[in-house]
């Protein structure tokens, strides 16, 4: 439950922060959520990663489709020398996920190490 709500909250907060802040808005968003909802480091990273991977990936997918893949294809051709807008969607999601995941991971280390061994 914590995992799912972390993912959703990180996505939501990243979206809102992104309205006011630049690209690094992901960092405080994931950090705060990870701080408020303590999880083990691995899970924290994964919720940060997935939250923004999904958010950025879905946004990019939507914009790409609405654009008939024109710009995604051109950008992919420019960067990867392959005309596939899906590659750009993937790269977008991956980069966003990585930054957010790392930020969530960082925050998770603020918590005491999990004492209870279930």
């Amino acid at each position: 439950m914590k995992f799912i709500s972390s993912i959703l909250l990180i996505a939501l907060l990243s979206l809102v922060a992104g309205l006011y802040l630049r690209f690094w808005a992901l960092v405080p968003a994931a950090f705060v959520v990870s701080l408020l909802i303590p999880q083990p480091p691995g899970r924290s990273f994964l919720s940060g990663f997935l939250g923004v991977f999904l958010l950025w990936g879905c946004m990019a997918l939507y914009m790409d489709a609405a654009n008939n893949y024109i710009l995604g294809t051109r950008m992919s051709q420019m960067i990867f020398k392959v005309p596939s807008s899906l590659l750009m969607v993937g790269l977008t999601a991956l980069i966003g996920g990585l930054v957010s995941g790392m930020s969530a991971l960082t925050a998770s280390f603020i918590h005491q190490p999990a004492k209870s061994k279930e």
Binding site: L19, F23, W24, M63, N68, M102, T106
Partner: protein, 856 residues
């Protein structure tokens, strides 16, 4: 808290963010670029996007409505012109801001500020920024601004336009910034009237840069007078000037407005070749009684494409394309089916994305004009209104000369002029190079103009001398007023009044009115020159070699309602040089003009469709002239089967440069090879740049005389015949051609490979390998990256029937469906219907969107 994992993880996160926010090696910062909320995805315009807007600006005096049709052409309806130009500025910026910005920054010598010093192994500081600065582009723009702001009409026009551009710029956010700013990590600065002037100077640079002074000087020093005359003959055999031969333009005048005097004592230096003196003057035709014309003769230093030799343009240089030509013509009602004139124009320029042109209609109670505008300048440049149409081709005249300056000492504070030491003015050019300290370039200004070349910035011949550049584009002028008045012009008198403001670049301005007039003027402020003045670099220690005046406007060659029923131009001589009192120097082309005139002579009952057919015609008149040499001189006795097959292709070719034909590729490759075979040995005697003889010179020389002196290869003891050289040229190219045929890439369109590149040369944003015919000598002058940048056909019926297309799209955003949507249609020779919308058509189905400008 787990302190070490925390610190490690925080450091990794921080570094990741830092790395993603940094631009390395001019590559964009990937974090912001990929962020869907601010990066490139924001420029991915939805296919069903609405372009409608409600905008509120204090600058407006009345509500202005812009109706945007399904081709994304804005039809601006305003209560007054000031509001209309404000809206035009806003809309240009909305669709083309980055392009406007980069073009003016380039002109201003600020490219390295944006992209850094090196691009590959090109040093942009030396090749671009210092070049434009030392040429005085910024100075020229400041001069133009004076002219523009001195006139109340153009001042109001450009002020309103600039306000409109800035209204758009201030509405931009990080997310809505044009894509290229995101890729290059910078942001637009406010627009200014000076930037409009810079854009116009960039056009002057491109169109009024016809000179080969250093290259000619090199040739003069390398060859004897007789050889020079053979290589660069005074006048071609075939000549089809704008003012037809035999027309007496000066019948009412006995003397020219400027009496040009050849400086005394120049024979020994200026005309001295390696051996012997060049002819000072050639036979002239006396004009009227009592005339005392200065003698003159003519030079056609045309260059084309061939293998790189000292006569070839350095691919790194920014020299304008020597074929910056164009076609325009107007036929009178007597020759058209509808009985009203038809006007056609297609300016041949470098083809880029975003396109140089932007279609627009401007409608107010005082003006109603439609046509191609230049993003970065108000008004319409080539277009029509409900009463008249106008268009331009380049004059090709030489209006840029170099004078050697003698400084008193190394400080360059004083220079010798007419026996006195005059103080130098200095202009310090502060070039802000991205990632490096500023580069300060101090340019000395003399009576002639900026000292462009000096030891620290050597001239093309690397002489280490000081040369000032005198260029008509440095003069105060107001070209904007010309186009403003043309936009308003309804009749011949208004057209004539309009073009008087056009000084530089000189243009052949064609005109037709619904009332039945057709006209063309070879218009510009051209220096009145003596024979060969400015063909070579000149002595500048006194005024002897200086320009002696400007040809009076009414002495510019022109035609008005000629009996033959049409006027035309395609960059040829404006008038038979033997009947003109001033030296016509420049880079004139003949064959396209001859073909246009030959066709127009025969055409009757002309429709706009006929004219579209003519504009896109691929017939090659040059090949018609030159193929007999191919057939006569190539030795066919011992040919392989594949070789014979290629030879037969050319022999049986219909002389059309059609995209799917193989013969044009084979023929043109042979010609280029022959050219090198004939001239390469002589021209390679120098490693420094040298003027390329023209194709016309070679074909005319060989047709007249197969033992033309340069046919012999001077590197061999034997005396080669034309048959040997022509056959050698063939043996060199046919294996290459066979190889291409085996790879299925011998068709003319593959061989020519027309492409339209994004201004940043990003292949992914460019349209490559277009299927097009034509070529340098076809009316459809489509070359590899150069060609008809805007085709327009206007029939002056009521309402006007007009057709046009440019390769590109209205939206400069590579993420827009309108970025390059017209390229394929353009390549196929199709046209769109140009719609001069009337106020009662606001509910027309073609209107897709509305942009409302109102006061807040």
């Amino acid at each position: 808290m787990r302190i070490w994992p925390f610190i490690t993880s925080a450091l990794v996160t921080g570094s990741l963010v830092a790395a993603l926010s940094t631009s390395i090696d001019s590559k964009p910062a990937f974090g912001p670029l990929l962020d869907p909320q601010e990066g490139f995805w924001q420029n991915a315009d939805p296919a069903n996007m609405s372009y409608s807007l409600d905008l509120h600006f204090l600058e407006l005096s009345a509500p202005t409505k812009v109706y945007v049709d399904q081709r994304l052409v804005p039809h601006i309806f305003a209560e007054n012109e000031k509001d209309a130009y404000f809206a035009q500025g806003y809309i240009h910026a909305r669709f083309r801001l980055w392009q406007m910005d980069i073009q003016t920054d380039l002109a201003d010598g600020r490219l390295t500020e944006i992209v850094g010093r090196y691009s590959g192994n090109h040093d942009l500081l030396e090749l671009r920024d210092r070049y434009y600065r030392r040429l005085g582009m910024g100075y020229a723009a400041e001069q133009a601004l004076k002219g523009m702001e001195a006139d109340s009409a153009t001042k109001a026009e450009v002020d309103a336009y600039t306000e409109g551009v800035n209204a758009y710029i201030s509405s931009l956010t990080v997310a809505t910034m044009p894509l290229e700013y995101k890729l290059l990590n910078y942001a637009p600065e406010p627009w200014t009237n000076l930037k409009c002037a810079l854009l116009l100077k960039m056009m002057s640079y491109d169109l009024a840069g016809e000179e080969n002074d250093f290259q000619n000087t090199n040739a003069r020093n390398l060859f004897s007078a007789a050889d020079f005359q053979l290589l660069y003959p005074s006048m071609p055999d075939s000549l089809d000037p704008i003012v037809p031969q035999g027309t007496q333009m000066f019948t009412k005048q006995d003397t020219p407005g400027v009496r040009v005097k050849i400086p005394t004592g120049m024979d020994t230096d200026y005309f001295m070749t390696k051996s012997g003196m060049l002819t000072r003057c050639l036979a002239m035709v006396p004009l009227g009684t009592g005339a005392n014309w200065t003698a003159f003769a003519y030079d056609v230093p045309h260059t084309g494409a061939a293998q790189r030799g000292p006569w070839e343009k350095d691919p790194q240089s920014v020299d304008p394309d020597p074929d910056n030509g164009s076609n325009n013509w107007a036929v009178s009602g007597a020759k058209t089916k509808s009985g009203v004139p038809i006007l056609c124009n297609d300016p041949h320029l470098g083809l880029n994305l975003p396109s140089l042109w932007f279609e627009v209609q401007i409608h107010t109670p005082t003006v109603n004009v439609y046509g191609a505008s230049l993003p970065g300048a108000p008004g319409v440049i080539i277009g029509f209104n409900d009463s008249a149409a106008f268009g331009v081709t380049n004059s090709m005249r030489d209006v840029r000369d170099y004078f050697e300056i003698t400084f008193k000492d190394q400080t360059k504070k004083e220079y010798l002029f007419n026996g006195q030491w005059l103080p130098t003015a200095f202009r310090v050019e502060d070039i802000k190079v991205k990632g490096e300290p500023d580069f300060m370039d101090t340019v000395a200004y003399t009576v002639f103009g900026p000292v462009m070349y000096e030891p620290s910035y050597p001239d093309p011949l690397k002489s280490g001398k000081y040369y000032a550049c005198k260029w008509s584009a440095h003069e105060v002028s107001n070209e904007l007023l010309c186009f403003n008045k043309l936009d308003h012009a309804a009749n011949y008198d208004q057209y004539l009044d309009a073009i008087k403001s056009l000084q530089t670049p000189g243009q052949n301005v064609v005109f037709a009115s619904a009332s039945g007039d057709i006209a063309i003027w070879a218009q510009g402020a051209f220096p009145a020159k003596w024979y060969r003045q400015g063909d070579f670099v000149m002595e500048g220690k006194d005024s002897a070699y200086d320009w002696q005046g400007t040809i009076p406007q009414n002495e510019n060659p022109h035609l008005w309602n000629p009996v033959r029923g049409y006027v035309s131009s395609a960059n040829q001589f404006p008038i038979d040089p033997k009947t003109y009192p001033y030296y016509l120097s420049g880079n004139f082309l003949t064959y396209r003009a001859m073909e246009i005139n030959r066709r127009l002579d025969k055409m009757e009952n002309i429709t706009p469709q006929d004219m579209m057919g003519l504009q896109t015609d691929n017939y090659d008149l040059f090949a018609e002239m030159a193929r007999p040499l191919f057939i006569k001189y190539i030795d066919t006795t011992s040919m392989e089967p594949g070789e014979t097959h290629l030879y037969d292709l050319v022999r049986d070719w219909d002389l059309y440069n059609s995209p799917g034909e193989k013969a044009p590729a084979v023929f043109h490759a042979w010609w280029d090879s022959l050219f090198v075979g004939v001239y390469g040995d002589e021209l390679r005697q120098t490693a420094l740049p040298i003027t390329k003889p023209s194709d016309q010179t070679l074909v005319e020389a060989l047709l007249k005389d197969s033992s033309y002196k340069f046919v012999d290869d001077i590197r061999t003891p034997a005396q080669e015949s034309l048959r040997q050289i022509a056959t050698q040229a063939w043996k060199k190219i046919y294996p290459v051609m066979l190889q291409l045929e085996n790879n299925n890439s011998l068709t003319w369109s593959d061989y020519k490979d027309t492409h339209i590149d994004h201004l940043l040369k990003i292949p992914a944003f460019s349209d490559q390998h277009l299927q097009t015919g034509g070529g340098a000598y076809s009316i459809n002058a489509t070359k590899a990256d150069h060609g008809p940048s805007w085709r327009m056909v206007v029939e002056l019926t009521t309402p006007v029937h007009a057709f046009g297309i440019y390769p590109g799209g209205q939206d400069g955003n590579p993420g827009s469906p309108y970025f390059d949507n017209t390229v394929q249609d353009w390549a196929k020779g199709r046209y769109d219907t140009l719609w001069l919308m009337t106020p009662d058509q606001v509910n027309d189905a073609r209107i897709q969107w509305k942009i409302n400008f109102t006061k807040p």
